[in-house]
Symmetry: C2
Subunit: 83 residues, 2 copies
């Protein structure tokens, strides 16, 4: 039961991040993205992955690892597309 | 130890959401916010709170409850400031 709720939670919060990435990849406009905040966010998400590993909770590990990847990708866009 | 990592993770991911809220409250511009995505995100975050309650894991409960509040606030801004 916990894994179903956690899995659904992970899928929903992961899916909700995709439009941001698509928007940036399409518009090549990163003006509104803050590098500092991306760094704080990626650090936090990485700690969640660590927390999930310590507790061997797969919903937490998978959804946060996915979120780290999306935000690293946003970070790369920020470097490539900045003016 | 788990609670320290989880607490730090929760604080970092929570802090990273504040600038978005401040930006919206300041600029009163919600053009770039997607209502559908906010609904998906709030549903996912609420499921995380439920997951945390089932496992009695305070870092998960607190950080996701905080995120639900921030995003509900963004949702209210979306309704008030839309053109």
């Amino acid at each position: 039961m916990e894994n179903i709720v956690g899995g659904a939670a992970g899928i929903l919060t992961s899916v909700s991040m995709i439009p941001q990435l698509i928007k940036v990849l399409k518009e090549k406009n990163v003006e509104d993205l803050s590098a500092g905040m991306l760094i704080v966010l990626i650090s936090g998400l990485s700690l969640w992955v660590w927390y999930g590993i310590m507790k061997t909770e797969w919903p937490i590990i998978l959804s946060n690892a996915f979120a780290v990847m999306v935000n690293l990708w946003l970070g790369i866009c920020l470097i490539i597309y900045r003016k």
